[in-house]
Symmetry: C2
Subunit: 599 residues, 2 copies
Amino acid sequence: MGLDGLGSSSYGPEAALTILIPLGALGLVYLGPVMGCIIALLAILYFSYRQTLAAYPTSGGAYAVAKENLGEYPSLLAASALMIDYVLNVAVGVSAGVGALVSAFPSLHPYILPLCLIVVAFVTLANLRGTGEAGWLFALPTYLFIVCFLGVIAYGLFRIVTEGDPTPVVAPPPLAAATGAAGLWLLMHAFASGCTAMTGVEAVSNGVGSFREPVIRNAYITLTIIVVVLALLLGGIAAIATSFNIGAMSQTEEGYQSVLSQLIGAVVGFNTFYYIAMCSLLCILCLSANTSFVGFPRICRMVAADGYLPKGFAQPGRRLVFTAGILFLSGFASLLLMVFGGITEKLIPLFAIGAFLTFTVSQAGMVVHWRRQEVKQPAKLAMNAVGAVATGVALLVIMLAKFTEGAWITLVAVPVTILLLRAIKSYYDGLDRELRQSGPIVLEEVEPPTVLVVTESWNRLSERAIKFALTLSPDVVAVHLVRLGGPENDEGEKALREKWHIDVEEPVAAKGLRPPRLMLIPAPYRELHEPLLRLIEKLDADAPERQVAVLIPETVKEKWWQKILHMNRAGNLRKQLLKFGGPRLTVVTVPWRLSRQEG
Amino acid sequence: MGLDGLGSSSYGPEAALTILIPLGALGLVYLGPVMGCIIALLAILYFSYRQTLAAYPTSGGAYAVAKENLGEYPSLLAASALMIDYVLNVAVGVSAGVGALVSAFPSLHPYILPLCLIVVAFVTLANLRGTGEAGWLFALPTYLFIVCFLGVIAYGLFRIVTEGDPTPVVAPPPLAAATGAAGLWLLMHAFASGCTAMTGVEAVSNGVGSFREPVIRNAYITLTIIVVVLALLLGGIAAIATSFNIGAMSQTEEGYQSVLSQLIGAVVGFNTFYYIAMCSLLCILCLSANTSFVGFPRICRMVAADGYLPKGFAQPGRRLVFTAGILFLSGFASLLLMVFGGITEKLIPLFAIGAFLTFTVSQAGMVVHWRRQEVKQPAKLAMNAVGAVATGVALLVIMLAKFTEGAWITLVAVPVTILLLRAIKSYYDGLDRELRQSGPIVLEEVEPPTVLVVTESWNRLSERAIKFALTLSPDVVAVHLVRLGGPENDEGEKALREKWHIDVEEPVAAKGLRPPRLMLIPAPYRELHEPLLRLIEKLDADAPERQVAVLIPETVKEKWWQKILHMNRAGNLRKQLLKFGGPRLTVVTVPWRLSRQEG
């Protein structure tokens, strides 16, 4: 949990520095203040989210908070922003991880996109198989990452303090000459990009249900650790990057080095430690992508339980649905990676929008929550209000700064998703209204139905079906499907009618029952249902109020090879009759268990 | 039709020469006599098959001939040999075609296997889409091939006659020094390999149904053309290869040149004509692979009509079955290509066995055919007897010479296939015996069944089901599936029972009918059928003779999105009940058409 938050600390500063590229070396001057703003925002978020956790100890995600306090549309806004962000989180995490990889091994640079797709495929397969309880597998790279990077930052700061103006062990690539002037606009851009560093915070409140007892305390601790580590990393990176003259490079450039890669190189050089640290970075970013595979089904389940997604998603443990969710997630993430060539900096604008949308909706929901409480807690209300305003302003800045760089995609996708969720909900609502029963049962004439027994030849299967039909209704018609007409078939028909008379009509009449009629109708292969439906229409015309039940004898296939050896004709016929038959048609399936039928 | 026969003329001589490699230049001396034997055998085959065509003008394939004249097992032998050979024909045709390609473009040599697989995939896709009536598409490369190669051979022979000892335009690679001595064994090998050239002849008699009227005349003409062209090609290739010192190379060798490639190079050089000729060779070999995709479904249809393959294969135009056949064919061919690395010379031993098995069985069948005729035709009988003996001897030679080189695979696969076909037949026969009806219907007590109506909530769906159930039987039980027990559910239960009393029991009793009972049974999700089956068992214990009908209301999904929005719970429940329910259980499906239900 919260791996998201740590992973994002690596691409946050990177994204901010990328925006400052046009300023050249001058840009670094502004890095400190921009990071300061981001850390301040982080602090506000921290305190607001502490309150959310306390108020909603069981799953205090933005969707739940918005649903309770703000009503349907804000909750759908939060839900769709979250769902879209889970997809983007996979794409961003994987592409940043691959960015770390190609920094360490520059020869892999031409293969960024294929590497991204391979990592997505790998994570998908691992999740399809079920990751199980591999807690240490997740914990190890996380601790390694924290130790490595806090260590490097501490050592870097130590060198800055002791050496004054330290010489990098491996000099970072020289910064380009300034090609633009610093303006408020550019700084807003940098701020907007750096904000991505905070995207992981929401994960804690969504995942609060999976913490151990005492839940709130554990969630508090996790949130605190994440925010403190994140702040230390952001601040440290900003300080060191400024002192060592480290700027961002475009990921599309040959010889690309991520900011963190340059940073370790400058502080300690490209030694074994460097490779360990970069490896932990790759792992943590892939794991942060993995959190989506936990979070996405969870949000889908919540939304489906309210009827905004197919009901199947609301049932835990439905293998097929679970698989569908994972494939949807990895499919869309792969698509995004392909569209943007696996370049992190291009994906980030899309991502930040969704994250800050959910922040703002969630905080706004909390404000309403506090207002509704009987015991007023103005301090808490104020805190969440500050949070809502701060994240709202940040959202506006991001929207303005990043609109043309891809943010518009998210801004289009969110309402489209909302419309889709609404459409699903209104379908279920309509169905509910249609089926709702009010008042007692209305009985018309209770008359036994006409029972049609479908046979292809006169054998024990059809004998059993006829016997059963006689128990249901006195009006039984055996419909014998004949392949093709023609003169020679006429004789077969005559023989069949005679056999029918002796074998069926006479014994039934002897029992004092009305003997079943035999009807021969020609039916070409594969279209058994059409002549049957025509016959039923005719029967309907004769007795418009009468129900019609079609009896289909079906062999039960218990072994896989029986499925191959028998064509599923009975099943197909049933499907067609149900689909095209009128409202008074019912299909009765009489099973015949092969080779252990008793009677 | 018959493209097979022409395609095989290219790898026949090649295969024979490959065997002669160890003899070095000396081997060429023996090529003439070996080819002579092969052409003599071809002549015998030609006259025997003419008689087969005349006697069985509608589909005179080996299976049909053997079935009529020799009985079950010989016909199955022919059928399985034919089916296996259709698979091998794809593999051999494609690998020989790719061999021609890499001869023309030696830089493609490392990619033989991938190229083979791509060609198989291409042919498969074309056949899945349906090749339609593209007659000219097939005819053009065939005519081109005939014109090119007969032209080259004629020009080569002309040069031999005029120049005496002609100099090759492009010298073929020098022949290796002799590493072995010529012996009868080696010549038998060469003969066995060269016999592959004849594999295409059977295709004409299998495909005779698709000729235009007058069928026999057209089949005669085709057969004659194929055999004459084949003989000319074989003889010409042998003569030219001997004069120009052309020997075979191993396809695995770098710089591999097929015999035909060397031959054109030696006679006319590597000019534009060379590339046109090689291109026509590639096309004709791919088309010869394609004949399998026509022939394989046809033989499957014949065999399935007799009950030796799943009945579905016997129905023309069943898309699914057709697709299954094509995928089976290309899957196995690809597997063979992968196992043998796409090398033609390794596949040929497997292929020749199957072809000569069918020749021999078919000829033997014809001998029996003539013996059974009232008007004796000793000449015809003798002709077919000669054919049977000659192909039988050739089969023996091939088996002996090629056993360790892969022929054993075919010799194992044929009986395995026969056993499988027999097993399928005996399954169908057993089923037939089990279901056969003898004598009149036996009626015990005709008593209406107990009808269980499965409901999950009391709505219009269940109302309709209850109303229908009342028309079938006075003994109706509504089974309400309850999710989970517990104290709060007890109250829900009480409310439900009260509602049931007012809404159902009272109105039904007022009509003078026995009111349906309400039973509440707890059922966890996904396992609806288990508690139901337990209930049915209990009912069975109470009234062991009584039939039980389970009524399941099912919403009819007419749109694809409805299938997503509704889980197919009714369908799953029906499947489970049919599978696990006792012999007296029947399932009734009451359809509910969404949003246009009338009553």
